[in-house]
Symmetry: C2
Subunit: 96 residues, 2 copies
């Protein structure tokens, strides 16, 4: 199954930027970054639970917002993409 | 139907910030902002087409990335949210 992870953190603080990097690392173990704070992960049900708990361990629930969306098959019917795909650009230093 | 609009634009330029504001305005006509560049819109099929074309009119496809995801019902099964919901915080000046 495809899940979309979108994560909103204040990147004005170094702690926030560090959390974003750690969230990105966890998500990249399961999929790819499609936008600055949006990741598409391929997981089964058990992996989704693991992903969820790993992410909850990293985020600061008092400050950040984490959203996980299950995107059902067929993806062609549920996902539309326009413009420049920039996933690879995100591995260098994250300036927001 | 619920659609998720996530929009990635370089906000280092004033043109990029203006495009993000205009994208936000369009999306807010149909729903709410749930993260800095992520919006949840309630639309029917015809409204989705209108939303899509309005957004494509605004974005710079050479620089930006726009993703639209259809999120089927029941939402409780397809959407998980954790942490602080900050939708209302985004109406003031967007500092990224």
């Amino acid at each position: 199954m495809l899940v979309l992870v979108s994560y909103d953190v204040s990147t004005e603080t170094s702690a926030g930027r560090r959390r974003l990097r750690r969230v990105a690392k966890i998500c990249l173990n399961h999929g790819q970054r499609v936008q600055k704070s949006v990741f598409e992960c391929r997981v089964d049900q058990a992996q989704l639970e693991t992903l969820k708990f790993q992410l909850l361990d990293e985020i600061n629930e008092a400050e950040d917002n984490l959203r996980i969306y299950r995107i059902p098959e067929p993806l062609g019917k549920h996902v539309m993409e326009f413009g420049r795909f920039r996933a690879t650009d995100f591995d260098d230093t994250l300036i927001v």
